[in-house]
């Protein structure tokens, strides 16, 4: 009976599974972080931002159950997020007016059940097929649901959606959930639970078989599994968690409308997941945090924020296809070899000109923006707290110089960093 305990266990990726303590350390750290964050960032803006991030983390992770774990590219995942929201909002309204004894923290369950129910319904249709056909069915279902939502105005509330008042329901140990801080903790608790649950699922027989289906569905059938059943379960479960996220979003915003089920929302969850990295459980978490933050600040920083979003998309897929988590995971062997000090200086060396190039690019973009769309506001603009004049050659020249020089230096440095990385890994491998 020694074998099961003593044998080094393996992960899907083949890395060593962390020990018992280390594994729990991560969860304790996560819980502590969630608890303490409001003390670190206590402004109202920070609280609402973090509340949104929590919601989006669940949403992105639920998406990765499909894309990353089971290899299913869905274009309609927001449908479950939105439907979860609608179910929550209706029950919330009914509970509020009918004095049902349900406290607010339980309402995301309603969203989850709604997401699950429709996950089962649509999953039954969509998961009969895989690959491009699956992607297209989800696209069709997404558009179908959104357009129908605008017609079924009693349930979906038309363009304006359905609003609610979260403070109307029974209070929870004296908490009324008026203040954002209380809402934050509610979301944080659900976020923690959902992350834990979704992580646990990756480590179950089902989770592993989902990976197998992603890698080679045909072969999976020959080891006894019904691939469309596996896809179906994955789809339903991811509907469940997306629904929970949707329910939390309702608790947070007290409104839900058809647009939340739409293509933009579905696109944004793909973006989060991909930027974070689909190959890694933590990827979507990173992606959700980053993209939510960008969505919030970008539109304030510049009016042409969609251009930056577009460039971000393009840049990520071209240069960091593994996502941020992929980039971080690449450092694991270096860390294991204790060679981090060999590579970090090179990373910094590459980072500096990289930032310069980005600054140059943004100067060019903003100057052309001022010059064209904002021409009627005069040629003056302030960038990085430096006043510039779009009609003078200075910002143009500076932009080009920074972008080109930064770009070239970056590429040089990047090559050096790459070599340093390989050297470190190779040495680590020998040592």
């Amino acid at each position: 009976m020694t074998d099961a305990r003593t044998l080094p266990r393996t992960d899907a990726i083949g890395g060593r599974r962390p020990g018992f303590l280390a594994r729990h350390a991560v969860w304790i750290a996560l819980a502590l972080a969630l608890l303490l964050l409001p003390y670190l960032f206590s402004s109202r803006l920070a609280l609402s931002t973090m509340s949104m991030m929590g919601t989006m983390i669940i949403f992105a992770l639920s998406y990765n159950m499909l894309l990353g774990q089971t290899g299913l590219l869905s274009f309609g995942h927001a449908v479950f997020f939105g439907l979860g929201g609608f179910f929550t909002v209706h029950v919330l309204n009914a509970a509020g007016s009918g004095d049902w004894p349900i406290p607010l923290p339980l309402f995301p369950v309603v969203g989850g059940l709604g997401g699950l129910a429709f996950g089962i319904l649509f999953g039954w249709v969509a998961t009969k097929r895989a690959g491009t056909a699956f992607a297209m069915i989800t696209l069709g279902i997404g558009e179908l649901v959104v357009s129908s939502a605008l017609i079924l105005r009693r349930f979906f509330g038309g363009e304006e959606g359905i609003t609610t008042d979260r403070t109307d329901v029974m209070s929870f140990f004296g908490y009324g959930f008026g203040p954002q801080l209380q809402v934050y903790y509610l979301i944080a608790a659900w976020c923690f639970l959902s992350i834990a649950a979704m992580y646990a699922i990756t480590r179950t027989p089902f989770g592993r078989i989902a990976n197998a289906v992603r890698d080679n569905p045909q072969r999976t059938a020959f080891i006894g599994y019904d691939t469309s059943r596996v896809r179906f379960i994955a789809f339903s479960l991811s509907g469940l968690f997306a629904g929970i996220a949707g329910g939390l979003s309702v608790v947070n915003f007290e409104i839900v409308n058809a647009a939340q089920m739409g293509a933009v929302e579905s696109g944004s969850v793909i973006l989060m997941t991909y930027i974070g990295g689909v190959g890694n459980f933590a990827g979507p978490i990173i992606g959700a945090i980053l993209v939510t933050w960008l969505q919030l600040i970008l539109s304030d920083a510049t009016q042409i924020w969609p251009l930056y979003v577009g460039l971000l998309f393009i840049g990520m897929v071209m240069f960091v296809p593994g996502g941020i988590a992929g980039l971080l995971a690449m450092q694991a062997p270096v860390m294991a070899a204790r060679k981090l000090h060999r590579v970090v200086p090179f990373y910094l060396l590459a980072l500096a000109p990289g930032i310069v190039a980005l600054v140059g690019l943004s100067v060019l973009i903003e100057t052309s923006h001022q010059f064209s769309i904002r021409a009627s506001y005069g040629p003056q603009l302030t960038l990085y707290s430096i006043p510039l004049d779009a009609t003078s050659p200075l910002p143009w020249v500076a932009g080009v110089v920074l972008a080109v020089a930064g770009g070239i230096l970056f590429m040089r440095a990047e090559r050096l960093a790459r070599d340093a990385y390989h050297a470190a890994v190779a040495q680590g491998g020998q040592g």
Partner: protein
């Protein structure tokens, strides 16, 4: 051999398969006896792999019956057939390239150990699975490579893993499609030993072009030509069969 060993475990009767107007399998009758090692040989394009596809549920037969332990299985999906204890390997390596070797084998053991689609149990804590996986990996000699993603194994190792996946699920009927193709002599010998080991107490049906392997391993040999079995006999008699020589063996074995 016990009395029960004589009963056919896998029976094909009047099996036919056409693609469009082209009939590839033209009425195959075959009875594989429990516990035997049965080889199928035949020219390229004779329909050997197609026959495996039919039996394993990858393709549906156009006509005819397939019986596994007396129950008819034709037209069932692959997973159902697999769950009844018939497992196969592929001529073109067919593994899970991004999963580790360990994970490849573990996935293949799950169903037979009754874990199915469970999403509430920690797979690491399933001791029966861990034990079985380790057993298989030791058997196919890949235990030291268990953390490697299967996609970067060498060709020979991948072929071994292919066999590992096939035997992991406790199936008692194994179908192996050209298990030694593309291997050097040394490796072929190792694989033959492996097959000999894993097919003990099991029934083996195998396609193979390497005559040395076939004559080495098989209890009986069927010769498939143009979708029909032209001979089915012991190795020695097959070797001597003029029709077989003409249709298949050519000079090499002669």
């Amino acid at each position: 051999m016990s009395a029960t060993a004589k009963t056919p475990i896998l029976e094909l009767a009047g099996l036919r398969k056409s693609f469009g107007r082209m009939e590839i399998i033209r009425g195959v009758d075959l009875a594989v006896v429990q516990g035997e090692r049965h080889a199928i040989i035949g020219p390229n394009g004779a329909g050997k792999s197609t026959l495996f596809h039919l039996v394993s549920g990858h393709l549906r037969p156009s006509a005819g019956a397939i019986r596994l332990r007396g129950e008819s299985i034709e037209g069932l999906p692959p997973q159902s057939i697999n769950r009844r204890g018939l497992s196969r390997s592929f001529q073109v390596t067919n593994i899970f390239p991004r999963l580790s070797v360990w994970e490849n084998v573990r996935c293949a053991t799950l169903w037979s150990l009754g874990h199915r689609y469970s999403f509430w149990r920690d797979v690491e804590r399933l001791d029966d699975v861990t034990r079985r996986t380790e057993e298989i990996l030791t058997e196919i000699d890949l235990i030291d490579r268990r953390r490697t993603p299967a996609g970067v194994l060498t060709y020979g190792e991948q072929r071994a893993l292919e066999i590992g996946l096939t035997i992991a699920g406790h199936a008692d009927v194994l179908l192996l499609d050209e298990p030694t193709a593309g291997m050097s002599h040394a490796e072929t010998e190792r694989v033959v030993a492996l097959i000999r080991k894993v097919s003990e107490k099991r029934t083996l049906l195998m396609i193979e072009h390497d005559m040395q392997v076939v004559f080495d391993l098989a209890d009986r040999i069927s010769v498939l030509v143009y979708g029909e079995i032209i001979a089915c006999d012991t190795p020695a008699r097959i070797k001597a069969n003029a029709a077989v020589q003409q249709a298949y063996l050519g000079t090499e074995a002669a």
